[in-house]
Amino acid sequence: MADKAVTTNWVSAEFFAGGYRISGMYDARHRLLGDIIYDKSVSLVLVNEVYISPIGRPAEIGTHYTNAACIKANLHFLLTLEEDDALRRDQRYGNYKLMQLVPVVITVPFFEITGAIRIIGRFELVPFLSLQTESYITLANVTARSAVHPDVSFHGGGAIVNRNQIISFGLNQQP
């Protein structure tokens, strides 16, 4: 048997919004999760096998729904296990020779998120924040630390952060 992760087209994702952790499975058979999130004509993302926990007790399973819709505009960010699952189709399959990963720290309600943004060419903070028209930012190698319980953190290969929920955005300069 090949040593390959047992994956289907179901993507396991963690959505964070309004002090809740929402774990669920996204069916990526028709559209990638990244494509749905970035698509401005779609306001919802449908998730299956949804489990909701309050951020104060993040491992406790509060509510369960077989199917649920998350309102994209209200999401603060979402985490995926693999980086690929947080990418749009063009980000995933494009050939970017000058691609670089820039470490950043982003603050959103209840969380401080560290990770790296994928940038082609030189990174300029102000133009990146003010001129880009996308509503979301994709990060790689993400750690989201709870502001309420600093000892609680969440990790993911990728994350998609809602720009409208960003409180502060900083470059994570390594000393």
């Binding site: 040593d3 047992v6 963690e14 096998e49 489990y51 491992a59 399973i61 969440f154």
Partner: protein, 361 residues
């Protein structure tokens, strides 16, 4: 080969794990929800349980907590397998009582490695398996089966034969032993350890003997019986219990603890009637019961199919009448040692293989 219980509401995941584990040679028990998983953990007595966290109704954490709280499943090796793979989830799984934790999606090789480690660790910490040889009808050869089965099992691993008969049982006699120490000393309150009570037989088998006189005082309580059997199981790979022919709460506790129950039955109408009634009363234990037909006389015997039809369950073994058994009893020379080629021993070998697994062949 291990018996693995998988509790997951995801049918695809159940199927994937079933195929994977069966390829490894394990026996797989599937359960699609927590409540059913708890029931199967008790009735099927698995060696290991893989439990999903996110299940409707009872969460995986609740399942693990309840398994740990139940004395019958408290030592079960448990792995949590879940789509929630954050450090807080790992912590919650271990706090609930799981031995191991893996996040989905899993790599088959990695999962198998975890399972092997868990089974190895489990077998190191787990105690031996207890088997009850039982019948509500006397004179049906329960002791003969218990003694010879224990003698056969000792070839596969350390084995203890516990004669818990209340009426001066005959295991010691059948083995040609004259025990000075017996479990009656525990009832008398003598300061003696269970280890000291175990009598070595020249074959390598250890015997916990019954008192030489019928017990008139109060017997062990349910908890005392459990403690006694757990101590025996901690020191042997197999514990065969020649179980008293009553269904008191203490005896039911023995059956609760037993990995398997060999219900000995005659093939004559009274014998079958008793067995049928016993099976009816022991409905909850049915998945662990193996019916063994022990022909008490050389008279013609009904065909196996007819017996199975009457009892409404398969018969694990049919021990033919063996004329060599009577002189063997007189000489205190069990057939498993003195005449291992006799039909009785051949039939019991099949039971021993059932206990040890196919590698015993």
């Amino acid at each position: 080969m291990a018996r693995v219980l998988i509790v997951d509401d995801n049918v695809d995941m159940l199927e994937m794990l079933r195929v994977m584990l069966q390829r490894m040679g394990h026996e797989v028990i599937l359960s699609a929800d927590g409540k059913d998983g708890l029931t199967k953990a008790v009735t099927e007595m698995p060696d290991l349980a893989i439990v999903d966290v996110m299940m409707p109704g009872l969460s995986g954490y609740d399942v693990v907590r309840q398994l740990r709280a139940d004395r019958r499943t408290a030592n079960l090796a448990i792995m949590i397998l879940t789509a929630r793979g954050q450090p807080v989830d790992r912590m919650a799984a271990l706090e609930a009582g799981a031995d191991d934790y893996m996040a989905k999606p899993v790599k088959p090789a990695e999962l198998l490695q975890h399972l092997e480690q868990l089974l190895e660790h489990g077998s190191q910490k787990a105690s031996g398996k207890i088997f009850s040889v039982f019948s509500l009808r006397g004179g049906i050869g329960t002791t003969t089966v218990a003694v010879n089965l224990a003698l056969l099992l000792r070839l596969a691993g350390e084995t203890t034969l516990a004669d818990l008969s209340l009426n001066a049982g005959h295991c010691a006699l059948a083995l040609g032993m004259r025990p000075e120490r017996h479990w009656g000393l525990l009832l008398e309150g003598q300061e003696v350890t269970v280890e000291k009570l175990l009598l070595p037989h020249p074959s390598g088998l250890k015997l916990l003997a019954t008192p030489p006189l019928p017990v008139r005082a109060a017997w062990f309580s349910e908890d005392e019986v459990q403690a006694l059997l757990e101590k025996l199981a901690a020191q042997a790979e197999y514990v065969i219990v020649d179980t008293p022919p009553v269904l008191s709460p203490e005896i039911l506790r023995i059956l609760d603890l037993a990995y398997g129950i060999f219900l000995i039955s005659g093939d004559d109408p009274p014998g079958l009637q008793t067995t049928l009634a016993t099976l009816q009363v022991l409905q909850d234990y049915r998945s662990r019961i193996s019916v063994v037909i022990n022909a008490p006389s050389p008279a013609p015997h009904p065909p196996l199919e007819a017996l199975q039809k009457v009892l409404k369950m398969p018969i694990a073994s049919e021990i033919p009448f063996d004329p060599a058994q009577v002189p063997a009893l007189r000489r205190s020379a069990p057939l498993a040692l003195s005449q291992p080629e006799t039909p009785l021993v051949a039939a019991l070998k099949q039971l021993a293989i059932q206990i040890i697994g196919p590698q015993a062949k």
